[in-house]
Symmetry: C2
Subunit: 326 residues, 2 copies
């Protein structure tokens, strides 16, 4: 990898929705040549403006070192899958419907070499399931990007049961050139890492709220101002080191037996889901929001996202030599 | 509360260690008169410089609106518990040894009125246990501050079994004048909120590491760059709203049955604790650190703490009217 220039690697993106266009901006900034394929013909027309808008946001955040136009010279947009022939990597980011993904993979595999790495941005479907649709599943992996991808160091690379690790390792190295701090799951873990661990929090949090031990607001305040005050710097295990493991071990012994172990979703949440079953997203929320408040939260998140990305960049990740003992 | 001026409320702090001196700085900035009691005679001499240093850090972060000296006029430092007679609130922040706390509470109760609120900063001992040491336990509550308190909106107010809610409600209101976004636990929940929920994360995280599903580093990266990218803005339940509850409900149904439900501490952690049993803090850590790296992490956290506090201040908490439906 040390000798490979990203400019020599052509990457294909299939799916030109909001996320796909964001990935393209990230890859262009990393100096790749990009072939963008629109699986839906109607997606071709709006794509250039979408990509341009993403790059403008990057420019505003100081991430570009030359004019937007010069990045766009590295990009080709097409409906023709045959254009993917020169790609070393093709990332699929179409809608999360297995049948549609299947048809997309067939078209990709018809266009590329046997060793082109094919990846899905899915967060909902296990990679091993999707591998069933591939003629050469060994070069198929998951690459789960954040949204928007260019304002995040997050990336989860996930293998399925049939993935050949050499491809995953290659993408893992490459992702560092994209400014990511990727994680690499060598097994097909449901929920990947963050979701799986956060579901343990949600399970306990919902249980406390149901039992009347704490309110939604109090749990959120505790996480915003306490967990939030170190999460971006430390993650969870360095935090354990920082606090001191011996004390925590004693607390674990006291509190683990009291934690919620339910296999099932809390009755409260199921009831809310059933009540709001026919409604739109707004009708099934834990908090109530006016339309104005929904908009305010969305704006706040867009701004916060850039702020926390820039703050995190001031605290680089620990060196590799600092590897764990386990 | 609306009509009460904090300048009319005298607060006592018993315990002049690093944390206690930080609380004093926070209370002085909130315009309180403060009586600081040193339970250990040797703590009197270094206290003024400690408090001054805390106030200098606050000044550097732009939190002061007048010279440090003028804040110090509101402060009296003494070894004489009788000085607490005029306090409406006394906060104990001495070492976490029950016998020492018991003796401190006796001295405080001898000095104050029956209705003076007495609070402990403990995070290790249940409030109900400490109430056994009080002649008037109904006015005794927990106030768990962050460290350093002046760079955090976090505060957990906790009742014991014998606490009268009116005192907790009063402190809850008052804490908003200190620039806090406090949580109020009406029951004596072990681990309070953040720790309890984070222990659910640690349990699942340690289990994944033990099973070889993920590495320490990968879990930390996922939390730094994914969970960390929204935690300070949203907490966990607003995040659920933002993501969309219906999708999450489906994922919960799949993943809850797979989560770790162990009552016991993971064998790996117990083994490490046993191995390092005689050693100091350094000998029992998940990661390995050189002395330089320990220092670098501590410096980074001091800096990050101020940065994240200032970032969070740009995103004020949602209005009260935005209360939850549950």
């Amino acid at each position: 990898m040390e000798n490979i220039k990203t400019g020599d690697i052509t990457v294909g993106i299939v799916g030109l929705g909001l996320m796909g266009c964001g990935f393209i901006a990230t890859l262009l900034m990393a100096e790749h040549n990009v072939i963008a394929i629109a699986p839906i013909p109607g997606d071709i027309a709006p794509a250039p403006e979408r990509i341009n808008n993403h790059l403008k946001l990057c420019e505003g955040a100081g991430l570009l070192d030359r004019p937007i136009e010069s990045y766009l010279l590295q990009l080709e947009i097409s409906e023709d899958y045959a254009q993917l022939a020169t790609c070393s990597l093709v990332v699929e980011c179409v809608i999360e419907i297995p049948g549609i993904k299947k048809s997309v993979y067939e078209k990709i595999e018809n266009a590329v070499t046997k060793e082109t790495v094919i990846a899905s941005n899915t967060s909902a479907i296990p990679i091993s399931e999707l591998q069933k649709y591939l003629a050469h599943p060994e070069r198929f992996i998951g690459i789960h990007w954040a949204e928007p991808s260019y304002f995040s160091r997050f990336m989860e690379i996930t293998c399925g049961n049939h993935s050949d690790m050499q491809y995953a390792d290659w993408v893992y190295e490459l992702a560092h050139r994209w400014g990511k701090e990727p994680t690499l799951l060598r097994k097909d873990l449901r929920g990947f890492i963050t979701n799986r661990l956060m579901y343990a929090v949600y399970r306990e949090g919902l249980s406390l709220v149901e039992k009347g031990e704490a309110t939604l607001e109090d749990v959120d305040k505790a996480f915003r101002y306490d967990a939030g005050s170190w999460m971006t710097l430390m993650g969870i295990f360095r935090r354990m080191d920082y606090i001191g493991l011996k004390d925590q071990l004693e607390m674990f012994k006291t509190i683990f037996p009291e934690l919620c172990n339910d296999d099932k979703v809390s009755p409260l949440m199921q009831e809310m889901a059933d009540t709001g079953a026919e409604g739109n997203r707004d009708s099934f929320r834990l908090y109530s929001y006016s339309e104005d408040e929904v908009r305010q939260w969305e704006e706040a998140f867009d701004l916060f996202n850039v702020d926390i990305f820039q703050l995190a960049a001031m605290y680089p990740s620990p060196r590799e030599k600092n590897a764990h003992k386990i």
